[in-house]
C-alpha cells in the first residue's frame, strides 16, 4: 500500500492505518461509555467489588503472615534434661548446644527456679510444702536462629534429643505451625474464590457486551457490507471491555481503600492485644496498578470471548 504523500490519493501505510484504527476505536468506545454513565458505572462497580473482595482477604492474610515473621524468636524448643543432671553438667550442655549452627541463644532454667515459678504462677504453695523432692528437671530453652523455619526446627529437635543428658525435646511451636498452615489454606481458598469471581466477571461483562453488540447490529452489518473485516468490527468492543475492566479496577482500588481504612482500626485493636505492630491494609501504588491492569485484562478477555461468539453470527443478509 502506498503512503499518503502530497495529494494523498491512497490509504496510508498498513501500520499507521492500523494505529489510527486503534486510536479511533479506543476513543470512540470510551466516548460511548461516557455517554451512558449510569450503566458504565454499575458495570464498573460490579467488576470493582469482584476484584476488591479477594484482594482485601489476601491483604489481610498477607498482613498476618508479615506479623508472624516479626515474631521475635519465641522459645521454640524446650529440652527437658535427665533428672540426674547437675547444674554444672546442664551449663556444660548449654555451652555445647549454643555452639551448634542454627541456634541463636540457649537459656538454662534451673529446676529450683522452675519450681518456684510454677508455684508462683499457680499459687499451689501447699504442694511445695508437701514435696520433699523437686520433681522438675533442669530445662534448656533453645532459641533457633531467625532464619530457621518450621522444618528446620523439627530437625533440630530430633538432633538435640539425642544429646547426652537430654530426656525429651519438646517443640512448643505447634500453634505457629498450625497458624501457618491455616493461613496457607486461607490463601489458597481466597485465590480460588478470586478465580471464580474473575470468571463470574468475565461472563457478566461478556453478556453486557453481547447486548451492546446486539444494539449495534446494524452498524456491524454495514461495516461488513462495505469491506470492514471482523477485526475492524471487533475492535471497538474489545476496547469497551478494556475500558470497563480498567474502570472496574479503579473502583476496586477505592473499595480496598475504603474497607481497608474502616476495618483496619478494629483489627489493629486485636493485634495490639498481642503486642503486635499495627496491621497494614493499605493500598500501595503497585497494588493499584496491578488491580487496574487485572481489571483491564479481565475486561478485554471477556470482550474477546463475547465478541468471538456473537460477532461472527452477525452477517449481512
Amino acid at each position: 500500500m502506498s503512503s499518503s504523500t502530497g495529494i494523498g490519493l491512497g490509504p496510508r501505510s498498513r501500520i499507521s492505518a492500523w494505529l489510527h484504527h486503534h486510536r479511533q476505536a479506543a476513543t470512540d468506545s470510551f466516548g460511548k461509555l461516557l455517554g451512558a454513565p449510569i450503566s458504565t458505572l454499575m458495570t464498573a462497580v460490579a467488576i470493582g467489588i469482584a476484584l476488591a473482595l479477594p484482594t482485601i482477604l489476601l491483604l489481610a492474610i498477607e498482613s498476618v503472615e508479615r506479623q508472624l515473621l516479626t515474631i521475635d524468636n519465641p522459645p521454640q524448643l524446650t529440652l527437658l534434661l535427665e533428672p540426674s543432671m547437675t547444674i554444672d553438667e546442664a551449663n556444660k550442655l548449654l555451652d555445647q548446644i549454643e555452639r551448634k549452627p542454627g541456634i541463636s541463644k540457649v537459656e538454662l532454667i534451673p529446676r529450683d527456679d522452675a519450681l518456684s515459678e510454677f508455684v508462683d504462677a499457680t499459687g499451689l504453695t501447699q504442694l511445695m510444702d508437701s514435696l520433699t523432692d523437686n520433681p522438675l528437671p533442669h530445662t534448656l530453652w533453645v532459641y533457633p536462629a531467625a532464619n530457621v523455619r518450621q522444618a528446620g526446627i523439627e530437625a533440630l529437635a530430633q538432633d538435640l534429643a539425642k544429646s547426652n543428658g537430654v530426656a525429651t525435646a519438646v517443640v512448643d511451636s505447634r500453634w505457629l505451625k498450625r497458624l501457618e498452615a491455616s493461613l496457607e489454606a486461607g490463601q489458597v481458598t481466597v485465590q480460588a474464590i478470586g478465580v471464580l469471581l474473575a470468571l463470574g466477571v468475565i461472563f457478566v461483562l461478556g453478556n453486557t457486551l453481547r447486548l451492546s453488540i446486539e444494539a449495534r447490529r446494524d452498524e456491524i452489518v454495514v461495516i461488513k457490507l462495505i469491506g470492514g473485516g471482523d477485526r475492524f468490527a471487533r475492535r471497538p468492543f474489545l476496547y469497551s471491555g478494556l475500558w470497563l475492566g480498567a474502570l472496574g479496577g479503579l473502583v476496586s482500588c477505592l473499595v480496598v481503600l475504603l474497607i481497608g481504612s474502616s476495618i483496619a482500626p478494629a483489627i489493629e485493636g486485636l493485634f495490639a492485644l498481642y503486642d503486635r505492630q499495627p496491621l497494614r491494609l493499605g493500598l500501595s501504588l503497585q497494588l493499584a496498578m496491578l488491580l487496574s491492569a487485572a481489571g483491564a485484562a479481565i475486561g478485554w478477555l471477556s470482550a474477546y470471548v463475547s465478541v468471538s461468539v456473537h460477532l461472527t453470527k452477525i452477517q449481512p443478509r
Binding site: M1, S4, G8, P11, R12, R14, S16, A17, W18, H20, H21, Q24, D218, E219, V221, V222, I223, K224, L225, I226, G227, G228, G229, D230, F232, Q315, P316
Partner: protein, 227 residues
C-alpha cells in the same frame, strides 16, 4: 473492473434462484439489471458481493475467481465495490459526514484525506451543506444520496446499486440515475438493479433482464459478449 458470470447457478433448497447464468461486462461498462421481484436480481448482486457463494459455475471479477476467495479475504474483496442499498443502510447514530467517511476509515485513510474526499463526495450529490446533519433529519431522497456518496467516496472500481430509486418520485429517480451515469463516465463499472422500466429504457444503457433466474435479454455489451 470487468465482471464475468460463467454458467452460474444458485440454488436455495430445491429452487433455482439463478439458473446457468452467463454474461460479462467489460471494465467501465454500465448495465441495468431488471426483472420482476424474485427474478434473481438480488441474488445476482449478492453473489457479486460474495454475500453468497454460487452453487455451481464460476464468477470472475477483475480477472480473479470469486469462488476462490477465502472467507477471511471477503471483507477486503468488498473494498473494490461501492454499494447503494434500497434501504440506504445508513447509521443513524452518526452524522452524514461520518456515515460517508466509514469506508475510508475502514480502508485506513488519513483524517486529512478523509475530510477532503468526504466533502468532494457530498458535493457531487449536492449535500455539502448537510454534513453535520443526522440522517434522520434528511428526506428519503437525501438519505439515498448520502448512501451514494458513501458508495463512491473510496473511488470503487465497481458501483452496485440495488433498487436505488425504489421509494423516490420520478424526478428524484432520474436525478439519481444521472449520478450513476456520471460515475460511469469516469470509468467506474456500474450495475444498477431496478424494476423501473420506464426510467431505465430512457437511459440508453445496456439492460440485462432476468426472468426465473435466467437472462432473457443481455443487451449489447461494448465488447465482452462479442468474444
Amino acid at each position: 473492473m470487468d465482471v464475468q458470470f460463467n454458467r452460474v447457478t444458485k440454488r436455495f433448497g430445491d429452487r433455482d434462484a439463478l439458473k446457468d447464468l452467463s454474461f460479462s461486462m467489460v471494465s467501465g461498462e454500465m448495465a441495468f439489471l431488471t426483472g420482476h421481484s424474485g427474478a434473481g436480481k438480488s441474488t445476482l448482486l449478492r453473489l457479486l458481493l460474495c454475500l453468497d457463494r454460487p452453487s455451481s459455475g464460476e464468477l470472475v471479477v477483475g480477472g480473479r475467481s470469486v469462488n476462490a476467495i477465502s472467507n477471511r479475504k471477503i471483507a477486503h474483496y468488498r473494498r473494490d465495490f461501492g454499494v447503494v442499498f434500497q434501504d440506504h443502510q445508513l447509521l443513524f447514530d452518526r452524522s452524514v459526514f461520518n456515515n460517508v467517511a466509514l469506508p475510508l476509515e475502514i480502508a485506513g485513510f488519513s483524517q486529512r484525506d478523509i475530510e477532503r474526499r468526504v466533502r468532494a463526495a457530498l458535493d457531487k450529490v449536492g449535500l455539502l451543506d448537510r454534513e453535520k446533519a443526522l440522517p434522520e433529519s434528511l428526506s428519503g431522497g437525501e438519505q439515498q444520496r448520502v448512501g451514494i456518496a458513501r458508495a463512491v467516496v473510496a473511488r470503487p472500481k465497481i458501483l452496485i446499486a440495488d433498487e436505488p430509486t425504489g421509494n423516490l418520485d420520478p424526478q428524484l429517480s432520474a436525478e439519481i440515475m444521472g449520478l450513476f451515469t456520471a460515475f460511469n463516465s469516469v470509468g467506474v463499472t456500474v450495475i444498477v438493479a431496478s424494476h423501473d422500466l420506464a426510467l431505465i429504457s430512457r437511459m440508453s444503457q445496456r439492460i440485462l433482464t432476468l426472468k426465473n433466474g435466467q437472462l432473457i435479454t443481455r443487451g449489447e455489451s461494448q465488447q465482452a459478449d462479442a468474444q
